[in-house]
Symmetry: D2
Subunit: 261 residues, 4 copies
């Protein structure tokens, strides 16, 4: 049974679906008619509108939770987010810095992965973005695992947290935060960035190479939708061709240019 | 400090790195010389071989843990695994069926995501594969969160588990397991499959449509490596062009063709 | 000097350009102002509208000539057309069948490649499409090198032409024309098809294998636009992900299933 | 009937085929046995080796003629060459500059497209490459339509030809040849370059913008092979992910920064 304020996906078709909080006896209106949400409604139920259209009550995927945040900014997309988890070793119990908070779509994901033994430290310098991230997190994520900071770590003394497992930077000038990330990370720990333009990546790589990071690697991810239909199977004719370049690296204990021993 | 039997990545360059368990005073030989692992070694440390080559001691990423399993079978690749998490809602606390266990690369990942409040049920019908999966899991994963079953759910009465959040099928004929997956899943729960050939997808979609699944969607994921180097930045000249098609869907409570009420 | 009725591209920016026939003293109106085409205008000239916007008078590329035909049908795109030339050996002097004529975009290209010693035979069964193809060809192609046929070669006795170098089929059911193509082609000659759905390709491949064709191969072509701009270089965010699968093969002299001597 | 010295493709399977000149009674040896080429052999014929393997005698595609040149250098690939034709307006009668000649693979193609009323001007500064290009052209192309120049147009006074329709640059530093290309081209004429690294493209774009070119655009082309086989249809698992970025532009009559009238 879906409880009050639990979110569900109201699904009509591939292009029409909504993320809604449950309230008994509330109804939803669309151009295909109205449906009413009655007490005892379960995930998986079919509802039929007064115009005869079927709607389905589905559990939200993690991708839904990211995509359905109210956006004030460009968000991290699921196609990159999955790889970010894998390459930054983000798992149960991880302690992770993200900067900036943006609209909170990545915070939503991370907070649901790290669990009660982990922690997300989320930095943002613009109050209106932070507010938006906090709101989205409280709706779709696990706010109890996220600590928000309203500050610019570039000008305001770094992250102020140490020994974290991973740092993810979603800012236009990631190179300005590489030193702060170095100070916050464990030895051998993970850093990642996402940027649309190759010059941003070039500048960040150069900075990483000078600042104690190794195993620097860059990828981009393309996702093609395939329509599977009898005698009409084919890739979709349009796709998102580029969101950004992902850059990953790991911290080493001795910065290049420094003498050892 | 790295403890006895902890795994680390010994990194020389992009093409040469190894996943090794730590034993004090053990050494590693390569064509670039030998390095010795002394007590007190830390993640992030640099080791220099007797031939002068630098090696780095790094934390394994989740992608490393998947890719470095000893393989008896084709494995799930990180590029798909991230999306599987996102689309199957696999997070802290999830209860997930995977079938088959294969070499255990996905079990490794899932066991590190769901944490102590979650559970992975892993099915395999070939004893030699199960054995391999168990070994790999004990090295790179969290065996305490995984329960293994040696059985063929097609011929042997289904999964025998109910109310799970997600089912992932990595078998050549996923359509034979759709009914078993339906019985095991919660209402609105998630199913996913991965197969290389379009005919496998077509048959599975047809079966899903008849068996109480909706929001069926298929994608493929392409990852391009980018070399970022001063005045020589370019995509790699070769790439993995296809591992498989990912298919996702969700369970609805009323099978098509059945009367309601 | 541009002569009366010569076509030129009037180019404002990447998204705004037009293919126009030259008439002295005619003018062109846009939301960025009017420009007048005076006698003596040359390719490469800059014209400035009364509102101060620059327009450039450019030669049309072959891609422009294909894309700017008036469309009654889906057209062949330049990204596939170039490969069609290369894989079907279409060069100076080639004799080529195309079926159907469609809107004539491919006829335009082929007619400009084969020259006076070559010939295009273009088949179409719908009069309104043929009419459209003929009109487009007369504007953008070399009509003197194209012979049009209004017929359905499936039901009406094949192509009625023999010894051609290449056959290109742009029809929804190419398998119905494989035998006719076989009869029309030289030994070792080339056939190609373009279709959006994989089932069309599968059926055509099966028919080709039974009908005296070998070296059957299928590809798809993806083109990514790149924005090159100081500190803002990146792939475009959207792309055409799929137009169709290209299928190529070559005729052999002995049909499988037939005994030789 | 195939004449003496005509080239043909001897085709065994997708991975094993050869481009050979015909000589009566010559034979070809492979690990699948020997075949002999008798007088009267026709394109499309099947030959069976003494070990029972079938070989087919096929016409070479234009792609074959490009790929089978003896290589001293990286060559232009068919996947880019088709688009080069389309975007540089290279057709029957075109006058085209290419620089450098390289191994002559593009010269082979262009010489077969422009016909007797067109002309290719091919520049190369290394004698050993020119020699190789000339040899390849005489085997696979139309040498009568190509004029070779052994010179470096950068240091040696430009191309020395004017009023050409198109210029294609296949050199590591195309920006050094933009002014020479400008001088050689007709108004509104076409220029194209191909380079693997984004920095080469960035420098060339900057130079083009300052040197009288407009409609500058950059693309890259990806080709995926598809295996079409009953119940086993899928993209190939490996592909060429990057050969280079294609850059195209057109000449305008007034260089920016110069006064008109």
């Amino acid at each position: 049974m879906i409880s009050k304020d639990d979110y569900f996906i109201l699904y009509m078709d591939e292009k029409s679906y909504y993320m809604l909080p449950f309230t008994e006896n509330q109804s939803f209106s669309s151009h295909r008619g109205n449906v009413k949400f009655e007490g005892g409604m379960e995930y998986g139920d079919k509802l039929t509108s007064h115009m005869g259209t079927d709607f389905y009550v589905l559990r939200p995927t993690l991708a839904d939770r990211m995509m359905k945040v109210k956006r004030r900014t460009t968000i991290i997309y699921p196609k990159e987010a999955g790889t970010i988890l894998l390459e930054l070793g983000i798992e149960n119990g991880s302690r992770v810095i993200e900067c900036g908070s943006g609209s909170g779509s990545l915070s939503v994901l991370l907070s649901r992965i790290v669990g009660p033994s982990g922690k997300i430290y989320s930095y943002e310098r613009r109050p209106e973005h932070q507010e938006s991230a906090i709101k989205n997190l409280s709706k779709f994520g696990k706010p109890e695992h996220v600590e928000f900071f309203l500050k610019d770590p570039v000008t305001d003394g770094g992250f102020g947290v140490t020994g974290v497992d991973s740092v993810f930077l979603d800012v236009p000038e990631p190179w300005t935060l590489i030193d702060a990330a170095y100070d916050a990370l464990k030895g051998g720990g993970f850093i990642g960035t996402l940027n649309p333009c190759i010059e941003q990546i070039q500048t960040t790589v150069e900075k990483m190479e000078q600042s104690g990071f190794i195993r620097i690697r860059c990828i981009e991810i393309l996702v093609r939708g395939i329509r599977v239909k009898k005698n009409m199977t084919r890739p979709h004719d349009r796709m998102i061709a580029h969101t950004g370049y992902l850059l990953f690296a790991q911290k080493i204990n001795q910065k290049p240019g420094l003498k050892s021993e």
